[in-house]
């Protein structure tokens, strides 16, 4: 049964993605185990007694060789058991799962707004190339990508929450909340995230669309006397899908970084804040678990981008 080439390519990419995730887990585990300096000392601080250091080393299993520890950790991860948090002895998985849900909800909401907005702005600035809309958009994006996310956060709180009380400055979400209330609660952090990601995504989308608009077949379409909008919709956009999708996925790295900062600024119970707190507490098992989940989400998204760009490429969809 010969697979349609696109399906074969997609399967290849998925296999590559899984391999990458496995390698990433090795990197994260080794990153936290073999670095110089005694992990137990780093966690308990200098004035810790020898006895407490010994018990912690035992608890972390630092005495066994790294390889066996890695595989036992990996086995646990595969069964969904991410180990026990050092600081409060609670199992990591349940707390992490809820917080991952919150983070994905926030990042998803931001992406759902940022992606179409970036493409729209990209189209507008290509349509009015080098005229005032293009210059204005470029100036604004230059500003937003140069401003640190936490400054954006506080400016937005000051104006939209304190000064004009449109949206709550506090974005706590809890179980009983309705979907609408949840959206209302994360209004401000989504705005900040969109601003943080929009700049990068818009600049690259503009370049991708510009590249397509300057191709020969768009000129042919123009020479066929089609309306500008028909040219963009029927000829430019179908070919812009693959490069734009790649650009969007490339920028999700900024979204991940933005989420961490925004969660700290808005005290949002997501994975970003959970990771930052436990890094400060030097709670190695939690940091490993969070690192792995972030990597998995990121690799997964890149995988989706790869597959979408394969599907969008006519050469692959209709082989010779």
């Amino acid at each position: 049964m010969t697979l349609h080439p696109v399906a074969r390519l997609a399967a290849q990419r998925i296999a590559l993605g899984l391999l990458l995730l496995f390698a990433a887990s090795v990197l994260i585990f080794l990153g936290t185990q073999i670095l110089p300096g005694d992990v137990a000392q780093a966690i308990l601080g200098r004035s810790a007694t020898q006895q407490s250091l010994a018990t912690l080393r035992e608890q972390l299993g630092l005495n066994e060789p790294a390889l066996t520890r890695y595989f036992s950790w990996l086995a646990g991860v595969l069964h969904g058991d991410l180990g026990i948090a050092l600081s409060n002895g609670q199992p990591i998985a349940p707390a992490l799962a809820k917080r991952l849900g919150n983070t994905l909800f926030l990042a998803g909401a931001a992406a759902v707004i940022a992606v179409p907005l970036a493409i729209l702005l990209g189209l507008i600035s290509v349509r009015y190339l080098n005229r005032w809309p293009d210059r204005l958009i470029s100036a604004v994006t230059l500003a937003t990508i140069s401003v640190p996310e936490f400054l954006l956060g506080y400016i937005v709180i000051f104006f939209l929450a304190v000064q004009y009380q449109f949206l709550p400055s506090l974005s706590t979400v809890y179980d009983g909340m309705s979907f609408g209330a949840r959206l209302h609660a994360i209004g401000l952090p989504v705005i900040v995230l969109v601003l943080a990601v929009l700049g990068h995504m818009m600049r690259m989308t503009r370049a991708a669309i510009l590249n397509v608009m300057q191709s020969a077949y768009v000129e042919t379409a123009e020479l066929k006397g089609l309306r500008p909008f028909a040219i963009i919709a029927k000829h430019a956009l179908p070919n812009a899908v693959a490069p734009v999708v790649n650009v969007v996925m490339l920028n999700l790295a900024y979204l991940v970084v933005g989420v961490v900062v925004v969660e700290v600024v808005f005290v949002y119970p997501g994975m970003g804040q959970y990771l930052v707190d436990h890094v400060a507490k030097r709670d190695v098992p939690v940091v490993q678990a969070c690192g792995l989940v972030f990597a998995a989400v990121y690799i997964g998204l890149n995988l989706v981008a790869d597959i979408v760009s394969i599907l969008a490429n006519p050469r692959l969809r209709h082989p010779r």
């Binding site: 936290t32 780093a42 401003v147 400054l151 506080y154 000051f158 970084v257 930052v276 890094v279 990597a295």
Partner: protein, 273 residues
């Protein structure tokens, strides 16, 4: 001297001002970095041009010392990432074969984890000092420089003039430094500006999260964190460092855009804009 577009002019002036302040910090800072001189959050006055911070330290001195740390760490990290990234990138492009494969796959792996997350993972086990921060940021960022350098070098290596030189029997040293490097330099220089901005934002974010520069040392991100209670009331101690980060990033951005324009037009007619 070329007639500078106004935006590049502003960018250049601001950037040089910041770098000068960073270099001359010990001379021009009125007080020590952690010297407690007044009340908390005093407004700007003749004695304290920018007022004081949350525990009464002169904000202007702290901004100057903080700027010195931010710019020094960002510059050092960028230098490390460029040194490491471009040399390995060129080497992989010219050598090709398994060297190229191994290096490229390793870079793919490192880039499969967002840089902030990898930094946090590493910082959770090692003592957070300035050299460690520079090392972590430098290595993580060198992956992106590697990819650019390798791509640029591969583009050049397939050019006929490199093949002609190889046919002549020239050694690899000559090929890299006399044929590839001069042409690869302009895109890399423009990218250096962007990487520096990334480094400034990265160290500021780490410090804001409390995991970057540890007190009593200070950098701009750290100062924002120390005074973040006041930010909603427009206290300068919180706004000034954040605006400094933004203006530094914007001005370097303007200069980098101008450098990119000038170098691509110089690249022998083929305006690869």
């Amino acid at each position: 001297m070329m007639r500078l577009p106004v935006s590049a002019l502003i960018g250049l002036c601001l950037t040089t001002a910041y770098f000068a302040a960073a270099l001359l910090a010990p001379l021009i800072a009125p007080f020590g970095v952690a010297e407690i001189v007044g009340q908390s959050w005093e407004p700007a006055s003749a004695q304290f041009w920018l007022g004081t911070d949350s525990i009464g330290r002169d904000l202007l001195s702290r901004m100057i010392w903080g700027g010195r740390t931010t710019i020094f760490v960002a510059a050092a990290a960028t230098a490390l990432s460029f040194g490491l990234g471009s040399v390995l990138g060129f080497f992989a492009a010219v050598r090709g074969g398994w060297v190229d494969q191994v290096l490229s796959r390793l870079v793919d792996l490192l880039m499969s984890i967002p840089s902030l997350i990898s930094a946090l993972v590493v910082l959770s086990v090692v003592p957070v000092t300035i050299p460690v921060l520079i090392l972590v940021m430098g290595i993580l960022d060198s992956t992106r420089v590697f990819r650019l350098a390798r791509a640029v070098a591969v583009d050049i290596a397939v050019m006929d003039y490199v093949e002609a030189v190889r046919l002549r029997g020239e050694k690899q040293g000559w090929i890299i430094f006399r044929e590839i490097l001069p042409n690869a330099l302009s895109p890399l220089v423009a990218e250096m500006g962007l990487r520096f901005i990334f480094a400034v934002l990265f160290i500021s974010t780490l410090s804001f999260l409390g995991l970057g520069v540890q007190p009593p040392m200070a950098d701009w991100g750290g100062i924002v964190k120390e005074n973040k209670e006041g930010i909603v009331y427009g206290i300068p101690a919180a706004l000034v460092p954040a605006l400094a980060i933004a203006t530094l990033a914007i001005s370097v951005n303007l200069v980098a855009d101008w450098v990119l324009d000038r170098t691509t037009s110089l690249k022998g007619g083929r305006n690869a804009r």
